[in-house]
Symmetry: none
Subunit: 208 residues, 2 copies
DNA sequence: TTCTGTATCCGTATTTATACGGATAACTAA
DNA sequence: TTAGTTATCCGTATAAATACGGATACAGAA
């Protein structure tokens, strides 16, 4: 019998997931929580369960924070992240902070069950696609703090203020080509294809 | 017996929701779809169901588009939006495009069931909190609502998704020149000078 | 009704952004 | 120290965005 806890801020998702898991005879959903704090409180009381299915984007204490704290307390609970995003940055951060698995919310039931069973045995589970994203990302850089270089950060900031490449180049005392290279590298690092997407993503991730 | 269809791009959510609804004896989930297009295809074949639970943020054809098209075809199917966001703009747009209800993904099972039952009777269902958000929005933002024309709004949305002018033109069946004019007019109306500033301002104002 | 403003549509010319290729200095790990 | 990696820098060619100018259709005001 695998004992499972679900932590996700969307009640309908949480409940639906619990309902799906109930159909498995050897699964037992012992509790669900709507945010990281409540879950962490629970963990201090009991660790008598195997797996926590964890959302990343939650109010207050988010999934990253939960992973970090679980890791620090050397808990035996194995976290599987269930996220909406297949962003390399997210995946890498989760892996680094001790996640045993990473699933997308558009995964199917079978995959979820498979992941839970594998992780329950103490093994890690990342689908091919997720693993590739992570490797691609690792290839570029480690975590998002150091994702962009100093110069790139400057360029991004000026870009978001609406300056053209030429203007940015003038302000940074370099040629327009250099600025364009920086921009191109920023696009690569954030996995977007043009400035519109870049600004959108950067605001989402609060880089600007 | 209330016949229900679920449309959401996240398979786990979709399946979980279906599982929750199955527990109700008088509900029958007859189909689920992972994107707006597939659902709309289905609607052209049969309209023998009462309610569609609809996500807004989906790839390809999103929830707004589905509402618009359903409305246009004078379908008898009643849509209930289930969204992650309680943004006034979203809610108002849904209401305007014929949604019979609007629930947040952190609603609970009871509320979902209540909403479905009420909407199935042909009545509309918006919780107090949602209705308030909508009213607040209507009060402040009646100006910015009419700021952009329909076409311009479409263009802005596609722009923010990272499509190039050419791609947008193809999707809207007009020349690239027309799309560029739209873009130029959007820039003027939002008082910005290029796409980077545009996306920044639009996200700030939650136009996208 | 006519007039006026605005949404919609398109062409040409210019500016800007992006793709591609390549180089050097600084830093890092073995 | 050496080998590998990354940040920084730049050129050329192409694609895309923007400026400018202009036309039609339609709704609402005079």
């Amino acid at each position: 019998m695998i004992k499972i806890v679900v932590t996700d801020d969307h009640k309908l998702f949480r409940m639906g997931l619990a309902e799906l898991l109930k159909k498995q005879e050897d699964f037992n959903v012992i509790a669900t929580f709507e945010d990281g704090d409540l879950f962490l409180d629970f963990v201090t009381e009991t660790q008598d369960f195997d797996i926590v299915l964890l959302d990343i984007n939650m109010p207050n204490t988010d999934g990253f924070e939960v992973l970090r704290k679980l890791n620090k307390t050397k808990s035996t609970v194995k976290p599987i992240v269930i996220s909406m995003f297949d962003d390399g940055n997210y995946i890498a951060k989760c892996a680094k902070n001790g996640a045993f698995g990473y699933l997308l919310k558009n995964a199917d039931e079978e995959e979820l069950i498979k992941a839970i069973k594998i992780v329950a045995q103490g093994k890690k589970y990342f689908t091919q696609a997720i693993a590739e994203k992570m490797i691609d990302f690792m290839a570029i850089d480690s975590t998002s703090k150091n994702l962009l270089s100093k110069k790139e950060t400057e360029v991004l900031l000026l870009l978001s203020k609406g300056f053209t490449t030429k203007e940015i180049a003038a302000q940074l005392f370099v040629s327009t080509r250099t600025t364009e290279t920086h921009r191109a590298n920023i696009l690569k690092k954030l996995e977007v294809k043009n400035t519109a997407q870049l600004i959108k993503k950067a605001t989402e991730q609060k880089l600007i």
